[in-house]
């Protein structure tokens, strides 16, 4: 049965057929026909954000917390350009997002029409793929392709630009089943021979480690399940990047904590000293590797990644395996079991002995004393008081983000949303809105810095309008803390522009939006304040005033290898970064 309909109606029909229940957006002239269709239906809920950047981050939060693609609808010109940061963020973190933008009518494109921007041109480098649809007959097929591309292979953001005349004109609607998606079918099964080689190394390794990343989360819950089985079965230690937290539970006994620039001592030293590194869905990012020449010098390296371009990009590996994590791990487990579940028990026991020594350093220890709240203490208390809850954590970007990664424990995948690759201040608050939309009854907390939080504070309006009880846990050090830390380490303690002046009264700010505000300065009041925050049925801003000059440790100074870490408390930070590392960020 063929169905004729307008382009605008097609958009809504295609979204319904793709199983979309929530769209984050902001209207304008070039998308009015689509908004008219949204008005006339009840299947898809539209969340009116307060800035298009917020819409994209909210969709990212929704996507990461559900595993489904996030959907955004914005107008042409400024609507589209405001979405660019979010698109880049989603591209860097491989988050499936479908952004629909309005465009000026086809006959006006190229004329500098009102609110015209070359949206596909501007977003070409920050999307996985994008389309300008000039013919209504192709619209529904293109939208289905967009969902397919966003969610297949290595996920990512896509954009469909829809001129206004294409929205008004009518054509035949194409269902998802009939859509043309055959040409893009990334390979998901890994090469059995390579997997068998890896199994052989697993059987012999004396000092193995699993180094896992966001690819495990993106591959879906089955991948995390298989990873856990493999880790429990082999007894190998496991560390993860910022992006992969939760794939293996923080309470698991093989868990070494996060690795990388602000990773744990034991995780980084184990990476440095291992003889077999099994990279599962991570990409040897520069935050992870430190100085490349000295990166894990004595190990054989295997790399499982769905994106062939990630392999051998930064670090040469011995066993590349291109495929989806869940598919590869399933084959790996089967082969390993079939060959008799062998590991080098003696080597492993020694290796764990070494790791336990490193663990004794207790690199996250801190002392809470006096009348000021240490940010680490605030997070440790947040962890203790929210652990049992059905909890989702978002963060902004800065010191607080790294502390959150260090001091909060993640037991499951899809519970941790942070801007990893792009490091986008302003990500966390809108992301928390997206997460809460997906999980209305869950406890959703955004661990924020005061400076980051202000970057998308307008979304308070969204949280209040939709009664989303998101908790904004602001670790307020009145500083651009991470910048200040680098200036201390690198620029002779000249704190150029790195403090937050003229901050709002966050309690009054919350109240001005019709939400609840809490301020906490005294360590004695901290637990009560946190409890008040989580028990309140509605959005809360908690302004937690913390120590202003705390540094985030451990830290591998940029340009240094993993075994040259600065540890906490008494680390000497002056001139810690040498000139060679200074060009790095």
């Amino acid at each position: 049965m063929t169905r004729q309909m307008t382009g605008a109606k097609m958009v809504v029909q295609a979204l319904k057929d793709q199983g979309v229940d929530t769209v984050f957006g902001y209207p304008g002239g070039a998308v009015l026909p689509i908004y008219d269709e949204i008005f006339q239906q009840n299947d898809i809920r539209h969340i009116l954000v307060r800035h298009e950047q917020g819409a994209v981050h909210a969709a990212e939060g929704y996507a990461r917390a559900t595993g489904k693609p996030g959907v955004v609808l914005v107008t042409s010109g400024p609507g589209a350009t405001n979405a660019v940061t979010g698109l880049t963020d989603a591209l860097m973190d491989s988050i499936p997002i479908v952004v629909l933008t309005g465009q000026v009518p086809t006959f006006m494109i190229g004329n500098d029409a009102f609110q015209e921007a070359d949206t596909v041109g501007i977003t070409r480098p920050c999307t996985k793929h994008n389309w300008l649809v000039k013919d209504t007959a192709k619209l529904s097929d293109t939208i289905h392709q967009a969902f397919h591309v966003a969610t297949s292979g290595r996920p990512g953001p896509v954009l469909v630009d829809i001129p206004k005349d294409v929205q008004f004109a009518s054509a035949t609607y194409v269902t998802p089943q009939k859509a043309n998606t055959k040409h893009y079918q990334p390979k998901v099964k890994g090469d059995r021979e390579a997997i068998t080689q890896l199994v052989e190394l697993i059987e012999q390794a004396e000092r193995p480690i699993f180094y896992t990343g966001g690819g495990v989360i993106n591959s879906g819950p089955a991948a995390s399940q298989l990873l856990r089985e493999l880790v429990e079965g082999t007894g190998f230690p496991i560390t993860s990047t910022l992006m992969g937290l939760g794939a293996y539970p923080a309470s698991g006994k093989a868990w070494l904590g996060m690795l990388g620039m602000h990773g744990l001592y034991e995780a980084n030293l184990a990476m440095h000293g291992c003889d077999l590194m099994i990279n599962v869905g991570a990409r040897f990012d520069d935050r992870i590797t430190g100085r490349l020449q000295d990166f894990s010098p004595h190990s054989k390296k295997a790399h499982i990644d769905i994106d062939p371009s990630s392999i051998n990009k930064v670090i040469h590996v011995d066993i590349p395996i291109v495929g989806d994590v869940a598919h590869v791990l399933e084959d790996l487990l089967n082969i390993w079991k079939a060959r008799g579940r062998k590991t080098n028990a003696e080597g492993l026991a020694k290796w764990w002995g070494k790791i336990d020594e490193w663990r004794k350093v207790d690199c996250l220890k801190f002392t809470q004393s006096g009348n000021t709240i240490k940010p680490q203490h605030a997070l440790a208390r947040l962890e203790a008081l929210t652990k049992g809850h059905d909890r989702y954590i978002c963060t902004e970007v800065g010191q607080h983000q790294m502390w959150a990664a260090q001091y909060l424990g993640f037991e499951d995948p899809n519970r941790w949303m942070t801007s990893g690759g792009l490091g986008t201040m302003g990500y966390g608050f809108p992301a928390s809105i997206g997460v809460q939309m997906a999980h209305p009854d869950a406890l959703v907390i955004n661990v924020a810095g005061e400076a980051s939080w202000l970057m998308n504070m307008q979304e308070m309006g969204t949280a209040v309008q939709y009664r989303l009880p998101v908790k904004q846990f602001i670790l307020n050090n009145e500083r651009l803390g991470m910048v200040r830390q680098w200036q201390e380490l690198l620029h002779g303690e000249r704190y150029s522009q790195s403090w937050s002046e003229a901050l709002p009264d966050f309690v009054k700010l919350a109240e001005a939006f019709g939400a609840k505000g809490i301020i906490c300065k005294d360590p004695k009041d901290l637990d009560d304040a946190i409890m008040e925050m989580i028990e309140h049925d509605g959005p809360v801003i908690m302004d937690c005033l913390v120590e202003k000059h705390e540094n985030c440790f451990p830290m591998i100074p940029s340009g240094e290898p993993h075994n040259k870490m600065l540890l906490g408390e008494n680390a000497s930070t002056k001139d810690a970064i040498k000139s060679g590392g200074a060009v790095l960020v």
């Binding site: 480098p125 793929h129 994106d307 371009s309 392999i311 620029h491 940029s558 060009v583 790095l584």
Partner: protein, 187 residues
Amino acid sequence: MSALKIKKGSSKHSAYDLRDPNADVIESHTLAIVVDNEAGVLARVIGLFSGRGYNIESLTVAEIDHLGHRSRITVVTTGTPSVIEQIKAQLGRIVPVHEVHDLTVEGPSVERELALLKVAGEGDKRVEALRLADIFRASVMDSTLTSFVFEITGTPEKIDAFADLMRPLGLVEIARTGVAALSRGTE
């Protein structure tokens, strides 16, 4: 604290300086890329090269299958072996790219380029230009009393050699198509 004495691009420790450019030999590779003939596809391919800092020595593109909406892009690029591998993997990632062939490694191939050269001169120089054109099997496409337009096809090296010879003889302008290439044999 000492001022940072870092010359641009000089740091060995830069996270972006992923490969020591001197550690590996720079190779030239001819890549044939079969793409959907759709708006913006060339921009995607070129944007990849400019965005990631890869070189383009030569680029040709034309539709090869009208009904199937396919075009073929031939790129000659240079880089270390690992950069070339990256380029191929990155090209393969572009959604409308169907095939990426590295003709330089996939066995023998033929490479041809076409060039038009305008050479102005009189007397001996004019005679010499014509004589050399004959040797190079370049044909005269246009002539006035004081100029020729030669057409020459061949490998890029042959065209370079011809252009070098024409320079002292009054080469005014040159237009080159860039390389078109195919692998030899039945495959």
